[in-house]
Subunit: 302 residues, 2 copies
């Protein structure tokens, strides 16, 4: 851990340096445990020595950023749980016990909050999880509502897929179609829990993550975590009907799975297991420093 240097007070703001650079600085300041256990992947992994690894994840929805006050509260509730469930899916695991923190203005109507809870319940029930606890706090009038969800999940030892195992030559794959989330999908998507587990068990993925900030942001993250570069075949990117490649790369909130797998990977069985859901090869990992770069995607402080 680094000490405070009283001569150096960084006046730059979040908007100046962006989320990834911020996180890289912050993890230097604090005890985070063994490599592979701490921040940097879709979930934190806690290895208690048993046959099952514990997964931990936290995520927030901000009014005006991730949802609008006039959005269907039941859909917002679904989304709040589904986003976290998607992170467990991206490890090949699933979520188990959820905690919710609501920081709301005192003027929020009870009916809104109850429908929000019903939406959380819809998603918890769909994926066999439980709400273990909650907390409510008041924000000052005029402040945005903030909904924070934290959860504990699990994945079988040997089945956990990190972001770090990709190798040059691996194919890059994506589930479903990308782009156009704001047309509604961002509130109603289905986290790819069964798909993530099946991929982990059948396709020997070397690295995996879920697409939350857009392919243009997330593919470079996956490659960097694996110490690789990448080449994207833009013409191969599966786009949502009515969307072009720019939207598929930049819109964000697709919540599809992005993974790398050895070049000889075959997708036999996928179509029978998940009829109607595409599984598409969109490029390959290459050696670090080679390949291309991508601009765009969603930065939380951009």
């Amino acid at each position: 851990m680094k000490d405070v240097d009283p001569l150096f007070y960084d006046m730059r703001t979040l908007a100046d340096i962006g989320e990834d650079a911020l996180i890289a600085r912050l993890v230097e300041l604090i005890p985070t445990g063994e490599a592979g256990e701490g921040p940097g992947d879709d979930c934190a992994v806690v290895d208690g020595g048993g046959e099952t690894l514990r997964l931990l994840k936290t995520d927030a929805l901000v009014e005006g950023v991730h949802f609008l006050r006039d959005a269907d509260p039941r859909a917002v509730g679904w989304k709040s749980v589904a986003r976290v469930m998607s992170d467990f899916a991206a490890m090949g695991g699933t979520g188990d016990r959820f905690l919710v923190t609501l920081a709301l203005p005192g003027t929020m109507e009870i009916a809104w909050i109850e429908d929000f809870y019903r939406g959380m319940g819809d998603c918890l029930t769909r994926y066999g999880a439980l709400l273990a606890g909650g907390e409510t706090s008041c924000v000052p009038e005029g402040s945005a509502a903030v909904i924070s969800v934290a959860a504990m999940g699990s994945v079988g030892r040997g089945m956990a897929v990190m972001r770090t195992g990709g190798r040059p030559g691996d194919g890059i794959w994506v589930t479903g179609r990308l782009g156009g989330s704001l047309a509604g999908k961002h509130l109603t998507f289905s986290p790819r829990v069964e798909e993530g587990r099946w991929i982990a068990q059948n396709l020997r993925p070397t690295a995996m993550m879920d697409l939350s900030d857009g392919l243009a942001k997330d593919l470079p993250r996956l490659a960097k975590s694996s110490g690789c570069g990448f080449r994207l075949e833009r013409a191969a990117v599966p786009c949502t009907e009515g969307c072009g490649v720019a939207q598929a790369l930049g819109d964000g909130e697709d919540f599809e799975l992005l993974f790398s797998a050895p070049p000889d990977m075959v997708t036999r069985g996928w179509g029978e297991m998940f009829p109607g859901l595409e599984l598409t090869r969109i490029g390959e990992l290459v050696a670090e420093g080679e390949g291309e770069s991508l601009e765009g995607g969603w930065d939380h402080f951009g």
Copy 2:
């Protein structure tokens, strides 16, 4: 789980009905697991069948409510972890892996965030815990910053102290002195982790919680959870120097431990273990419907 009644849309607000009534309604709407596992205590308890029970907790700090923008960020970071650690202490347990979600305006200075992380690190290190992950999100300009901390902890089987086991005739006890938290203690307090464990192992407590919303709010909660009433000996309440009983009851954020124990409990050993820290009997539990009621304390939506 209840279904939505389309004829009944509750226009009342959070401020109208208050936190306890809200939570009682919400837990009806959602799958929460077995009794004793879900919401309603200081932490959620997950019994995986082993010698150790898992504890889960989430908690939020809101700018303008729990801290001011010009407060020392390192102290705010300490407080954000210490509040959650105090909840683990209230179960006789301790915290292990922490997650933090920061929902901040884009204008927040990097130096503020780094000092906040250093403060979290101070408290994690003090109590032997780790940061397992974090998330940053942007709130719209003019919105309050919201800091949400979630954590996983543990307590030995048979050592977990819930709020529910108090019986009429039990003495009511409190650690330390109460009141005056806003003079500074609310940012610098030490969660009573060692004290909570010692109490659980040595004093046969029947119910325990930490004092976050003030004795006037929290003592009735403890009694109600145990299906009891209570009698408070106001003259016995240990007040912080410069504070009266009204402040000791109403200020909140004491983060001392409140517990009940059989009438023949003796505190032998306490003074040697925790020199300088009072342990005071302030009343007793009585049968439900008897005893007194208390007004005041902190309601998050009052």
